[in-house]
Subunit: 329 residues, 2 copies
DNA sequence: GCTGGTCATGTAATCCATTACATTATTCGC
DNA sequence: GCGAATAATGTAATGGATTACATGACCAGC
């Protein structure tokens, strides 16, 4: 309610001096500072940040574009973003795009209308219009794919997928199915590449019948796994490209009275918290979700503040986490 | 970059007319509107919302205070909030409090400094200082407990817990343990009430040895369940006050070679998406998480806009979802 | 004691969109 | 065809904080 003018009046000073006392105390006498502080208390002053931001043409907030906040992986990345934003004095706008271009475009208005200083994009970008957008305001990708331009953060999806499949091959598997994400999804594309690389390296012929495309949900994993179970020659291992679909697959296998991993090994990707506690616990690839969000946020804020124009692709380390669902056959 | 002045110049009109053409088109000639639109295109104008908001002393954004966005239940509530905010033209600030009073207080500055118009609180409030806060700015609780004042949204936690325990009793259980949340947590308190009510009604003596307090995480559920399994006289059923701890408990039971539900029934609370896909699938209480968030957001925005001063406690319906983990013994 | 410099503070412009009030143009009634 | 009413547009104040520039106080040096 009360403005800087009220403080100035209460302190018998000008608004300029009050502003200086609050924002650049070293430019003001010790005595003045004390008078201002007392006046601030007296009139219960809170600066109107809309006014400050208008003047400085900065909003000290960042927009997070997330395909779905209900997805635990993205929620973790978002948590990492929030922790850095908090530390550096920024607020976080949550832009849940629900995979809609329309919503995404709408949310970008927040930056164009000055309500946000930059964007962290969690959807992997195909790269087609990224250049154009990068020009108009700071944007950092937190969950990039191989085609995502800098500045961005990602893991080596292809390499991680390859490791996982090599792990299964090392355990003696030859018929290794995969549940991919949507065919055009960049993460799915990268991981598929790793899957095939590992097969090739082991001299295993790629079999399209052992590939199904899900939509990252447990339900789609369940459905895909059911189809594999119905094959005349069942795969002995199943590489799911995320943990949710793997959990759905475990459920399907268990429902068919198969034992995981003895009858079929099942592995996931992401290492969401549920992976460690599923029954059986899930072998998966740990992505440093929070660190990815945090790193992306650091890069974004550095850019916003002109501290550094980091223009590299940060590839953070992943880790193969072997648990019960892939124990050796 | 370009401001309303640039548009005015390009169109040969005053800024007032441009503003009217854009915000209250009916006050302006068809021809003028067209000229303005053309000029807007020509100079690539985007209104500076900081300026608009300063003038109107409104920010068209709401702050969501969430104890932890990585928790799927809260993520779902948040998704519900976001969908309504979006529909009504508001943005959502994500305030992850990590259960810290300090962080919460800091985030409340967003409202006091005019960057947000109101708050949706997901932590259940004990009610002690809610009155005071309610006076200074609009605040709505989305996940209330029995003590939470209006305006708020909640389910009947005690009633739901009672139903769940009655369900277990009906299945023949008499030794029913519970994994509570932290002792002082309002949801845990309410649900504990329901647990005891059901026991009382069935003439089962409450046994403190059958109560453990977790912190809502799967790990704590695992630990609590392990302790129950070590009891000389093992409980035959286990009511966990959220799904995560129930999933941890299932894991612990399975690891001890117990079969769920045959050797021990285990039930949860919340019906997060993983409940339907755990192995065995989890009997739980479905909370309308998205609807709770959505309702709270509607109430908040109505208050902000002065449309209605809904000052009631909305108790949304829950549902007992019986799945495999509690099949009759 | 005067000049020049430093420091603290004040005055007023600024950021940009909105809107009360003023002005001009148009239309209607008779 | 003229005054009144209405519609369209313009002028300038407004919101609140920041900051360039101006002013005044004070001190050092000579």
């Amino acid at each position: 309610m009360s403005s800087i003018i009220d403080v100035a009046n209460a302190a018998g000073l000008s608004t300029a001096t009050v502003s200086r006392a609050l924002r650049t105390p070293e430019k003001v006498t010790e005595a003045t500072r004390a008078r201002v502080m007392a006046a601030v208390e007296a009139v219960d002053y809170r600066p109107n940040l809309l006014a400050r931001n208008l003047r400085s043409d900065r909003s000290f907030s960042v927009l997070v574009l997330v395909p779905g906040i209900a997805n635990p992986f993205f929620a973790n990345v978002t948590a990492g973003i929030e922790s850095i934003a908090w530390r550096r004095g920024y607020s976080v706008f949550l832009g849940d795009t629900r995979d809609s271009r329309d919503r995404e475009a709408h949310y970008e208005q927040l930056v164009e209308t000055r309500l946000a200083d930059g964007v962290i994009q969690l959807s992997p970008d195909y790269g087609f219009n990224a250049r154009q957008r990068a020009a108009s305001y700071p944007i950092v990708h937190a969950c990039g794919c191989e085609l995502t331009q800098a500045p961005s953060v990602r893991i080596d999806n292809a390499g991680a997928a390859r490791e996982m499949v090599e792990h299964l091959i090392a355990a003696g598997h030859r018929r290794i199915a995969t549940i991919s994400g949507p065919p055009a999804n960049p993460h799915a594309v990268d991981r598929m590449k790793g899957y095939r690389t590992a097969l090739d390296a082991a001299g295993i012929v790629f079999d399209p019948a052992l590939v199904r495309f899900g939509d990252w949900t447990m339900g789609s994993g369940h459905a895909a796994a059911s189809e594999f179970l119905a094959l005349p020659q069942r795969p002995t291992a199943l590489f799911s490209m995320n943990d949710e679909m793997a959990i759905g697959a475990i459920q399907a296998a268990t429902a068919s009275a198969l034992r995981v991993p003895h009858d079929m090994a099942i592995t996931g990707f992401d290492d969401i918290s549920f992976a460690a506690h599923s029954t059986p616990s899930l072998t998966t690839i740990a992505q440093p979700a929070e660190a990815m969000g945090a790193k992306a946020c650091e890069i974004l804020i550095d850019r916003i503040e002109g501290k550094s124009a980091d223009d590299t692709v940060h590839v953070l380390p992943h880790a193969l986490i072997v648990r019960q669902s892939s124990a050796a056959i």
